[in-house]
């Protein structure tokens, strides 16, 4: 036996947290004979952890809420018991999580009692979710059961709605705007069928989208997410202008940008457990630049909106009092 191995005998390398994740990987292999992508793995571990917490079993798994739901904070764990292998699925590329065959149960330090619970729940969870490849069902489950609040839940539904809108629906040739990044797909896809036929659908879609934005504004937790509140207001306002102009694919991209920033500025810091302090400080330091980057995005989308919107003059009906307000504000800022 290798002297190092001898030394490590009786010195388990991994703890309860890692055992939970290890068990999830093992169960998937045993029950369904497959490995899974990183994203699916994170979600299942998160779910198993929540179910265990429900039973009063806390392995102090480091987790946080992020763009698509609850995930593992992998950098906070000793991840040597698995490897990431690059994989291709149709047009996507990602990483599969593959158990390190050299690792066995003995390498994990965990009480028998907890072990039994973990094995139990991991087995059950994998059984429920393992037969469906991909993350949608798990993500939906997470959002239904564990979403931090209504705002986060509705934003997910909204993003899903925008995503589900047919590629063809998203490209309205009349609303193609130069000088703004569009995907290659956007450009080559053929435009939707005649404006007359699609206008009915389009107005229904616009109404649906407005409904989502109304709901989001209604439930936005101002105090909890104070940091992102001003940017939320501007995003919400510009989104409405984008809808008006029928810029659906711009709306989708804008929403994704918003959510990415929101996840980094608010979600992962406000809804986390067992994150090491170093990691938390790193995330906190990044908040400022994330917000500044998104402010730049807002400026770009605003420029597009202003360039393409139908001219209105509602402020002109109150021109005097509006202009006076502007002057007073200018004076105030000049003090």
């Amino acid at each position: 036996m290798d002297p190092i191995e001898l030394l490590n005998m009786g010195n388990p390398e991994y703890g309860e947290q890692e055992f939970l994740c290890y068990q999830v990987l093992k169960e998937m292999r045993q029950q369904f004979g497959r490995d899974m992508p990183k994203t699916e793995f994170y979600k299942l571990c998160y779910i198993v952890n929540e179910e265990l917490l429900d039973k009063g079993v806390d392995v102090e798994l480091p987790v946080h809420w992020y763009r698509y739901g609850g995930v593992l904070t992998t950098q906070a764990m000793n991840a040597g018991f698995y490897n990431l292998e690059e994989k291709r699925w149709s047009s996507n590329r990602g990483n599969n999580v593959v158990l390190n065959d050299e690792v066995s149960e003995d390498d994990f330090e965990v009480s028998d009692e907890k072990k039994a619970e973990i094995v139990d729940i991991a087995s059950e969870t994998v059984r429920e979710f393992g037969n469906i490849y991909g993350t949608k069902k798990k993500k939906d489950y997470q959002y239904d059961h564990y979403a931090p609040n209504e705002f986060v839940r509705i934003l997910d539904k909204y993003r899903e709605y925008l995503d589900d809108m047919e590629e063809l629906d998203r490209i309205d040739s009349d609303s193609y705007v130069s000088n703004v990044d569009v995907s290659f797909n956007d450009i080559v896809s053929s435009p939707s069928s005649s404006i007359d036929n699609s206008s009915q659908d389009t107005s229904e879609q616009k109404e649906e989208i407005r409904g989502y934005l109304d709901k989001l504004a209604k439930v936005y937790p101002e105090e909890l997410y104070e940091g992102m509140y001003p940017l939320f207001l501007e995003w919400e306002s510009l989104s409405r202008q984008l809808i008006k102009n029928g810029n659906f694919s711009q709306l989708f991209n804008f929403t994704e940008d918003f959510w990415k920033t929101f996840s980094r500025v608010e979600l992962r810091l406000k809804h986390e457990r067992n994150t090491p302090n170093l990691k938390k400080r790193k995330w906190a330091r990044k908040k400022k630049t994330e917000k500044e980057d998104f402010k730049e995005e807002i400026e770009k989308y605003r420029a597009v909106v202003l360039q393409n919107r139908e001219q209105t003059s509602k402020l002109h009906t109150v021109a005097d009092s509006y202009s006076e307000t502007v002057r007073d504000l200018f004076e105030e800022l000049s003090q």
Binding site: D214, A217, K218, P230, L233, E234, E236, S237, R240, Q241, K244, R302, V305, L306, R309, T312, S313, K314, L315, H316, T317, V318, A319, D320, S321, Y322, S323, E324, T325, V326, R327, L329, F330, L333, S334
Partner: protein, 235 residues
């Protein structure tokens, strides 16, 4: 015959954001009478970018917050005159920066309509919060097409600086930069300002009016008062 005009920040504001008679006054100053060039000097340029952005942001966000509040608190799709009054007098917060013109907006609506679709109000508010960001010079080709940035650098003028009465905030720099344009080009140059208090009037305790002081010490030909007809205060 004026050859060059240099603008103060307030004039740019009048051109780009304001939309009342003062706006017309500022546009007329810049567009008509055929002077060679209208300059924006560095201090004015950066002050304008900063302040106009902040003003637009504050006002736009105030309208947005109010709009969201209307949707949250008014459940009916149709709003009666009474409901509009309720929005104006209760939903609209006194501390809202857009209070003055939103109050007027609702008053006008109440005067002209017996009932109105809630959606119409919401759409009007959406328009307003976006119009705040519009360039009021758009129909003249945008403000950047009407003015030129002074890019040839500014010299220091310690002697002039010492004798200038104007000292508030960026105003002294604005004045010195305008002087530099006149000195550097050798052309008949005037400064247009909306800030009569600091650039034109005589302040108590000072030996001469600000305008006289500027014209005596610098090479500016004139300081044009483009302020609104507000009641002058004694300072």
């Amino acid at each position: 015959m004026v050859q060059l005009k240099v603008l103060d920040t307030g004039v740019l504001l009048g051109m780009c954001i304001e939309i009342d008679q003062h706006h017309t006054k500022c546009i007329d100053y810049v567009v008509n009478d055929g002077c060679e060039k209208v300059y924006i000097t560095p201090t004015v340029g950066s002050e304008f970018e900063r302040k106009s952005s902040e003003i637009r942001q504050k006002l736009s966000q105030s309208i947005i917050k109010h709009r969201q509040k209307v949707v949250k608190e008014m459940n009916n799709d149709q709003l009666s005159r009474k409901a509009l009054g309720y929005i104006r007098d209760t939903v609209l917060e006194g501390g809202n920066r857009a209070y003055r013109f939103l109050y007027e907006y609702y008053s006008k609506k109440m005067k002209n309509r017996v009932s109105v679709d809630k959606l119409e109000i919401v759409m009007d508010l959406e328009d307003m919060e976006t119009e705040v960001w519009e360039d009021a010079c758009k129909e003249h080709g945008g403000w950047k097409s009407l003015v030129s940035g002074w890019t040839k650098g500014i010299n220091p003028y310690p002697d002039i600086e010492n004798k200038l009465l104007i000292y508030e905030g960026d105003d002294r720099d604005v004045c010195l930069e305008a002087h530099h344009v006149a000195a550097d080009t050798g052309k008949v140059t005037e400064l247009g300002t909306t800030n009569s208090k600091h650039f034109i009037d005589k302040k108590s305790g000072e030996s001469e009016s600000r305008k006289d002081n500027i014209l005596r010490i610098t090479e500016l030909e004139d300081v044009k008062d483009l302020s609104c007809g507000k009641v002058p205060t004694n300072n």
